[in-house]
């Protein structure tokens, strides 16, 4: 980092040695992460590694026990809700909506930070464009609660796009999506970054992360285990340790493909993997609780 804060305010997002404690348990320890304009940073790691908590700290939903988070060069704590909403948009894992708002109305909610400003003149155009990019134009009149999980996720993504902010945070946006929509959502996310936004996206699919992220930040047990370009970070050694499961990294046309190793005859006497199934179930619960 050559520039200093006094000369040019660092745009994008910056978390400096952030630690977060929830109910006495240390969820994040000394995490530093910078996301600059034009960059897509993927946040990966096993269940319960602290990805959602880090995201909550980046959005200002969770106050760090120590360390600071800066949004566009200013501490997140100093923002009013509306000011912050003009700088960063967030897609959470949970997108249930009370009452049967239709899809278009939900996407329009993304425009609300701009209500009363000159930018709200573009509302209709922006909303339509966001809905086209998220492939929900044809659902426009449908009531949100009646949609499938994937359609709800895309509608919520359209809402985030409609907010048109220089910082975008997405928590597992592809979890409920089919292959086509996974790819198009992340391609759209890339376009958003190309247009100058700083983007953080939590992903579970490491190959997807490798294909679309400029940098990958690997979290493990609340700490940054690695942070760098996909080709440097996604190594068999690191991932095997972090995920406690043997993986292979295959080069497919210059893009790393991460494949878990599977024992030929999977059964109860699976000795290669130390108690992997039970471990995963418990971890999943933690991750879900954390998301709420």
């Amino acid at each position: 980092m050559t520039r200093t804060a006094d000369v040019i305010l660092p745009a994008g997002l910056l978390a400096r040695s952030v630690s977060v404690e929830i109910g006495g348990a240390r969820i994040l320890a000394d995490v530093t992460l910078q996301v600059e304009p034009g960059e897509v940073v993927a946040l990966v790691g096993p269940n319960g590694a602290g990805k959602s908590t880090l995201l909550a700290a980046l959005t200002g939903d969770v106050e760090p026990a120590s360390g600071t988070v800066e949004l566009q060069g200013r501490p997140t704590a100093s923002y009013r809700a509306k000011e912050a909403a003009r700088q960063r948009a967030v897609l959470l894992q949970k997108y249930a909506i009370a009452f049967g708002f239709d899809v278009r109305h939900v996407v329009e909610m993304g425009r609300s930070p701009w209500y009363g400003t000159a930018r709200s003149d573009e509302d209709d155009v922006v909303v339509r464009r966001a809905m086209r990019h998220a492939d929900v134009l044809h659902l426009s009149e449908r009531s949100f609660p009646t949609l499938s999980g994937g359609e709800q996720a895309r509608t919520s993504f359209a809402r985030v796009l409609a907010q048109e902010t220089p910082v975008v945070l997405l928590d597992e946006p592809t979890a409920a999506l089919d292959i086509r929509h996974q790819e198009s959502l992340l391609a759209t996310t890339r376009d958003v970054a190309r247009a100058g936004a700083a983007v953080v996206v939590v992903l579970h699919d490491l190959s997807l992360a490798a294909a679309y992220a400029d940098r990958i930040c690997v979290l493990a047990r609340g700490r940054v285990a690695a942070d760098g370009p996909p080709s440097e970070v996604l190594t068999e050694d690191l991932l095997t340790v972090v995920y406690q499961h043997p993986v292979r990294v295959i080069d497919l046309d210059g893009s790393p493909l991460v494949v878990p190793l599977r024992a030929p005859h999977r059964g109860l006497a699976d000795h290669d993997v130390p108690d992997e199934t039970t471990d995963e179930t418990t971890d999943e619960t933690t991750d879900e609780t954390e998301a709420r």
Binding site: D61, A84, A85, R88, V90, Y95
Partner: protein, 346 residues
């Protein structure tokens, strides 16, 4: 612009309905005055020399001293209660929240009852209204603190909180009846049953401004209440100061409930039925839901009061009894429905 026409259409339909309901319910009663004469009387008071005047010698005075204050109060209370329901449902993100169901109305009644029993007259004719407001505010805050968990209110928790608070307030009312003299007792009974019998203009003059302020504030909050449907975190991410909005909404609900409860007693379920029907007709957007609920509530309560005073000859049924009779089954149906469609509202 389908939404736009729907909006104008619904509001104008409700306004027409409101006008018809005013004339029609003012015409009915022990002394029947033809609707045309009612209309004529109103037009003459407005300085327009149109239509026939009431032909009955006591027609004019019956209309302006008995009927119209009562009709006006029904409209004011109905509008206030339906708006309070809509705002409360938006604030809690739960279509079952309603001032009477969760105990806010009876909380307001306890406070008003206290003022009567101990004969407190601190604020003149506004005393009862002020007490009802404070009582309503305290109960709404209690509901809010007791029924929320992790930024969300579950149906079951909300309803159970309502049961508990209603039990508490019933005990409070029973105690007040025990303490009070004969006259105070009768007044408290009147409260728990709800009635518009004997409404005077003076009462309307207190309730109407309260309701007007509450409804105006609700209209201002409408846009933000929409965003609250996203959940607390997501609402904050699109720029809502969630906690501040909740506090303001709670005060608004207390003002509206006080406007209705101070002079009419506990009239349940108006705040549940009206916003629900409007949502079915026009969708959940609060910018339309709130004004439409206010108008719909006014119409509904005027008609309910008409029914209350004409159903049995020479008898005035308590209006709260009637709304509960219709609203109770509706509430049950709503609970069943919202439990089935998880996420569809509950």
């Amino acid at each position: 612009m389908k939404v736009r026409t729907g909006r104008v259409g619904l509001i104008s339909a409700l306004l027409v309905l409101l006008g018809v309901a005013v004339v029609f319910s003012a015409a009915q009663g022990q002394l029947r005055i033809p609707p045309l004469e009612v209309l004529g009387s109103v037009l003459h008071r407005l300085g327009l020399d149109l239509g026939p005047l009431p032909t009955h010698p006591r027609g004019e005075s019956t209309l302006w001293e008995v009927r119209f204050p009562r009709v006006a109060m029904a409209a004011v209370a109905g509008a206030a209660l339906a708006t309070a329901g809509a705002v409360m449902q938006g604030t809690f993100g739960n279509p079952l929240a309603e001032p009477a169901v969760v105990g806010v109305s009876s909380g307001a009644a306890v406070a008003a009852g206290t003022v009567i029993v101990f004969d407190i007259g601190l604020f003149g004719s506004w005393t009862i209204a002020v007490a009802a407001f404070v009582g309503g505010l305290i109960t709404t805050l209690l509901v809010y603190l007791l029924s929320r968990d992790g930024g969300r209110t579950e149906v079951v928790t909300l309803v159970l909180t309502g049961i508990a608070l209603n039990a508490l307030t019933s005990a409070g009312l029973a105690f007040l009846m025990f303490l009070g003299d004969q006259q105070a007792r009768e007044e408290i009974v009147f409260w728990t049953l709800g009635s518009l019998n004997g409404t005077r203009w003076a009462a309307v003059a207190v309730a109407a401004p309260l309701a007007a302020v509450g409804i105006a504030a609700s209209v201002v909050l409408a846009r933000q209440l929409d965003l609250l449907a996203l959940g607390d975190r997501a609402a904050r991410h699109v720029g809502v100061e969630v906690e501040r909005l909740r506090i303001v909404s709670i005060v608004v609900v207390a003002v509206l409930t006080a406007a209705a409860v101070s002079f009419c007693g506990i009239i349940a379920f108006v705040g549940l039925v009206v916003p629900h029907v409007i949502r079915m007709l026009a969708g959940p957007g609060h910018r339309l839901l709130i004004p439409a609920s206010a108008l719909g509530g006014a119409v509904l309560l005027m008609l309910a009061d008409l029914w209350a005073r004409t159903a049995i000859d020479n008898a005035d049924l308590p209006i709260g009894l009637l709304t509960s009779l219709v609203g109770g089954p509706f509430f049950l149906w709503l609970i069943r429905r919202s439990r089935r469609t998880a996420g569809g509202g509950a």
